[in-house]
Symmetry: C2
Subunit: 543 residues, 2 copies
C-alpha cells in the first residue's frame, strides 16, 4: 500500500485536532502574536473570572463542589475545555479535545445528581485528561508514530473504564513523543510540546502533553505512563504532581505501545495539580478491585490509614537524601531545592534526615538501557520506516546512539535479567543496612522510609537536550514507587553557575554546559520521593 508522505499525515492529524478545538464554545480565545517565554499567566488574562476560579481549584475541592451541586459538571467541563484549548495554542499539548462527548456526559451527570440527590461516584463530574497512549474506544492510538495515525482502539483501557464508572468526564487527549521513549515531547505528527513557564524548554515526556496541560491548569487530573520517567519528567518540568506506581498496583491494560522492553514494568499512573489529586485517582482506581480483571495486579486497596503509613521505627520518619547520583551532578537550583526542603524537614519533629549513598547508578543505567530494546529496536525501526518519517533527535539518542541496544537471544535476555535481579538485591541490601536494630522476630527496624532525590539533573532542559534519564529510570529499574512534587523555580540571581566545577564524565559535562541560569529562568524545580516496592502510599511527606 502506498503511504501518504508523513507531512500529509501530520497535516491531517493537526487539522483534526484543530477542528475538535473549534467546537468549544465560546470559542477558545486567540493568543497574543508576540508571546513571552513564560506564558503561564496568560490564561488568567483571557478566560472569564469564573473559568479561572474553576480551573485553579484543586481536584479534591472540585469533586466536593461537584458532588454537592455547588458547581455543575457542564460549567466545570466547559471551563477546562476552554483552558485546554488555550493551552494548546500556547504550548502545543493536545491531540484532540472531546467537547461534544464531554458535555453530553457532563449533562448526564448533572441530571443524575438532580434526580438521585447523590453523585454517581467519587469522581462525579470531574474532567480528566488522558495521554494519547492510553486506549480510548473508537479513537486513535498512535504512540507518536505516523504509521499508526489511523489505528483505532477497540475498547477503553481498563483504567478509563474504572474512572468512567466513578463518574469522571474525559475531555482531552494529550501529546506524546515519537516512539514514546523521550523525556521530552516531540513527534512528527504534532511537533514539539513546550514548557509553559519557559517556552524554550521542553515540557518533558513522554507524558509531555499531560505535564504541559496540567502546568497551565488546563487540567487538574490526568493519566500518564512511565517506563523511564515519563510521568515524573513532565510533572516535574511543569511544576505539578505525578506518581509512578510500583508495577502491578495500577490498572494497566489497554496501551498503544511499540514493544521493546522486557523485565522493566511499564506503568500507568496519575498526574495532578495537587498531591491529593494523586491520592484521589489511586484510591478510586483501586477501590474498583482492578485485580479481578487484571489478575497480575496486587489485590490491595490504597492503604492510607495511619497504621500502614507509620515508619517501621515506630515514630520517626527517616528520610535519606540523594544530593547527587554520582554520575551527573544536578544544577544549582536542584541542589538548592534539596537543601531548602532537607533543612525544613530537619525542623519537623518526628522526622530524621540522613544522606543516601547512591549505589552504582551508572551501572543501573547500563542495566535498564540494555533492556529497553531487546529486539535491537527492530519494531521501532519498522514502524518509523512504515510511516516514512524521519527519526527525531531524542529518538536517535535513545535508539540509534544507545550503546546498550542490541538484538538479544533468549540466553542474553536471561543473563541480563539475572544481573538485574542481583542489582536489585544489592540495592535492597543497602536499604536494609540502614536498620538501627531488630524487632522481636529478629527483623530489621529503624530503616530509611523514603528517599528524597532530584527528578533530573536540572529543571526542564532546552528542546532536544533531555539526555540524562538516570534520576528517574533508576527507580523503574528497581521498580520502586516514586512521586514528584514542585518545590521552587529557577531564580537566575540565586542559582548561579558553579564556575569551578570539573565534570566527571561526558554526560556530566553535557549537563554542566547546559546550565545557563537565564536559559532556565522561571522553570519549575521539583523533587522526587521514592519508597520501597508496593509502598506507594508512603511516598508522601507529613509536611
Amino acid at each position: 500500500m502506498t503511504r501518504q508522505p508523513w507531512q500529509e499525515v501530520a497535516r491531517i492529524a493537526q487539522e483534526a485536532r484543530d477542528k475538535s478545538i473549534e467546537l468549544v464554545q465560546p470559542p477558545v480565545p486567540d493568543i497574543p502574536a508576540d508571546l513571552p517565554l513564560n506564558v503561564s499567566g496568560i490564561p488568567k488574562q483571557l478566560l472569564t473570572p469564573a473559568e479561572v476560579e474553576i480551573t485553579e481549584t484543586p481536584p479534591e475541592v472540585l469533586v466536593e463542589s461537584l458532588a454537592s451541586g455547588k458547581l455543575t459538571s457542564v460549567e466545570v467541563v466547559n471551563a477546562f475545555l476552554r483552558r485546554a484549548g488555550l493551552a494548546q495554542k500556547l504550548v502545543n499539548c493536545i491531540t484532540e479535545l472531546l467537547p461534544k462527548e464531554a458535555l453530553e456526559r457532563a449533562e448526564y451527570l448533572d441530571n443524575y445528581l438532580k434526580e438521585h440527590k447523590k453523585p454517581i461516584g467519587p469522581l462525579h463530574g470531574i474532567p480528566i485528561s488522558v495521554k494519547e497512549h492510553v486506549a480510548m474506544k473508537g479513537r486513535g492510538l498512535n504512540a507518536g508514530f505516523v504509521a499508526w495515525w489511523d489505528r483505532v482502539a477497540s475498547e477503553d483501557a481498563h483504567a478509563l473504564q474504572i474512572l468512567w464508572k466513578a463518574g469522571c468526564v474525559f475531555y482531552a487527549r494529550t501529546t506524546e513523543p515519537q516512539t514514546l521513549m523521550q523525556l521530552a515531547c516531540s513527534s512528527n505528527l504534532y511537533g514539539e510540546t513546550v514548557n509553559g513557564f519557559n517556552r524554550q524548554l521542553t515540557s518533558g515526556g513522554s507524558s509531555g502533553g499531560e505535564g504541559a496541560l496540567l502546568g497551565l491548569n488546563g487540567s487538574v487530573l490526568g493519566l500518564g505512563t512511565d517506563i523511564g520517567g515519563s510521568i515524573r519528567s513532565p510533572a516535574a518540568n511543569n511544576g505539578v504532581y505525578g506518581l509512578r506506581p510500583t508495577g502491578g498496583r495500577f490498572p494497566f491494560d489497554g496501551l498503544a505501545a511499540a514493544r521493546g522492553a522486557q523485565g522493566i514494568p511499564a506503568v500507568m499512573g496519575p498526574m495532578s495539580t495537587s498531591r491529593a489529586g494523586l491520592r484521589l485517582l489511586m484510591k478510586t482506581a483501586l477501590a474498583a478491585k482492578p485485580w479481578l480483571k487484571e489478575t497480575s495486579l496486587f489485590p490491595f486497596p490504597w492503604r492510607d490509614q495511619e497504621s500502614y503509613l507509620q515508619s517501621d521505627s515506630g515514630k520517626k520518619l527517616k528520610v535519606a537524601v540523594i544530593w547527587d547520583d554520582g554520575v551527573v551532578r544536578p544544577h544549582p537550583p536542584v541542589t538548592r531545592a534539596l537543601k531548602e526542603l532537607a533543612d525544613k524537614l530537619k525542623n519537623v519533629s518526628g522526622v530524621e534526615v540522613v544522606d543516601w549513598k547512591p549505589y552504582k547508578h551508572d551501572y543501573g543505567w547500563e542495566r535498564i538501557a540494555s533492556l529497553y530494546y531487546c529486539d535491537g529496536a527492530h519494531d521501532d525501526y519498522d514502524i518509523l520506516t512504515d510511516g516514512g518519517e524521519p527519526m527525531l533527535p531524542l529518538s536517535e539518542f535513545i535508539i540509534k546512539n544507545n550503546p546498550y541496544r542490541k538484538r538479544l537471544q533468549m540466553e542474553d535476555l536471561w543473563d541480563l535479567l539475572q544481573k538485574n535481579e542481583e542489582y536489585r538485591r544489592a540495592y535492597a541490601k543497602q536499604w536494609n543496612d540502614t536498620a538501627t536494630g531488630l524487632d522481636s522476630d529478629g527483623n530489621p527496624v529503624g530503616m530509611v522510609d523514603v528517599l528524597l532525590c532530584p527528578v533530573g539533573p536540572g529543571a526542564a532542559p532546552p528542546i532536544n537536550e533531555a539526555k540524562y534519564w538516570g534520576y528517574t529510570a533508576q527507580w523503574n529499574l528497581l521498580d520502586y514507587p516514586a512521586a514528584v512534587f514542585p518545590v521552587t523555580r529557577v531564580i537566575p540571581d540565586v542559582d548561579t553557575v558553579e564556575s569551578d566545577y570539573k565534570p566527571r564524565n561526558e554526560k556530566d559535562e553535557h549537563n554542566y554546559k547546559l546550565y545557563d541560569p537565564e536559559v532556565y529562568r522561571d522553570a519549575p524545580v521539583s523533587l522526587q520521593l521514592v519508597a520501597r516496592p508496593f509502598d506507594d502510599e508512603k511516598v508522601r511527606f507529613p509536611v
Copy 2:
C-alpha cells in the same frame, strides 16, 4: 576437558549418597530381599516404636513437643535420619543425608533450649528435607544433570536462610529428574524414584524425592519447586500435602536451574504430611519479611485471620468443581474422589458446590508449552551434551517431542506473552461472571471462592507414562495458587474401567489405555484446590 563417562559420574554420586547414609547410627536397617509393591508398611516393622511414633507425628505437634522439651531435637532428627535412610533403600528418594551436620545442629538447639528456657524460633529443632534443586551452601547443585554434578552452591537459598533462623534442622536432600521438567523423577545420576505405595508407579516429580520421602514419613516438612506441577504431582502421588504458592509469595532466590521459561513464574513451596505443615512453613517464611531482601516479593504476611478468609459472599464458601478438563478425562478413582468430597461438602452448612466449565484448557497447555523452552531448549541440550548423558524418555517427551518448543525471537516472545495475558483475562472474566450481585461500590460479589479439581488425569502413573500436565500446569500458566491433599486410594474392585468410554483425542486415549485398576492398586488419590492469585491462604477447606 575430558569428561568422565556419565556412568562413572553416577557411580560417584551414588557412592557419595550411600556413604552419607552409612554415617547414620544406629545403622539404617536392611530391607527384605523380596519387597512387596506397596512398601509403605515396612518402616514400621524395621524402626523402633519410638522412632515410628516420632516420624508419624504431624509437624505442628512435633514443633510443640520440641519447643516444650518433651522431645529433644537430637532424638527427633535421628529418628528421621533413620527413616529417611530406609526410605532411600525402599524408593530411591535421597541424594544425600546430612547426619553429622544435622545432629550437631540438633544438639546446639537442645542446649539452647536448656539454657534459654525457650525455643530459638517457631521451627525449633524440627527436621526439614529439601529438594536438591534448592541451593545449600557448600553442597552440590546439579538440577538432575550429570554435567552439573560437581557444581557447588556458594550460599544457602534465601528460604533456607529463613527457615534455619527459625530453628529448623536440614538433614536430607532429595532427588529430582533430569532437566527438572518431568512429572516423574528419573535421572542418570540417581536412577528412578518410585512410589512407596506401589513401586511400579512413579513418585511424581520434579520434587519426586520429597514426595516419596514424605509419603513414607521419612520427613514431615519439605521444600519443593513447581513450574508445571512439580510440587503438586509428587505430593498427590504419595498422599501428602503440597502448595504451589502464587509467584512472589514465597522466597525464591537460590535455585539451580537450566534456564528456559519466560513469563511462567517458577516457585518454591512447602510440602508436608499435614495441612498444618504447609501453613507452618508459609507463615514462618513470610514472618521473616523476605521482601526486604527479594524486592519482587509481595510484602504481606500469611493472612489466615478469619476476616481475610471469609468468602466475599459474606457467609457461603462457594466451591466450583472441575470434573474433567475437557481434554483428558480423569480415571475412575479420581472421579470417585471428587464425587465423595463434593457430596460431603454439599452437606456442610455455609458451603455451596457448583460446577466449573473449564475454559479452553487445551489452549492453556499450548500457551505454557510454548513458553517452557523459549530458547528451543538449547540450554538443556548443551548441558546434556556436556555431561555425555542420554536424554531420558520423559525429558524427550517434554523437549524433543514437544510440538510447541521453538527458539524464539524477542518479537515471538512478545506475541506469546500477549496471548497469555489475553487468556488470563478471559479466565478471570469467567470467574467474575460467577458473581451473584454487586456490592455498594458496584463490584461483583458472591463469586466462586475456590476450584476443586483433579491433580492429574489419574493417580501416580506407571514409570515413564506421566505425560499429561494439564491439570497442574494450567494453574502455573494463570499463576493461581494451588494446593493438593490426599482423599482416598485406588481400590481395584470399586474403581473399575469405564469400558464404554470413547477417547476424544490422542492424549485422552493414552490416558484411558493406561488405566488398569490392578496396576494402580493402593495408589493415593489426591485432589487440588485452586484460588485466585495471591489468595494462597484460601486454598483450604473448612472441613
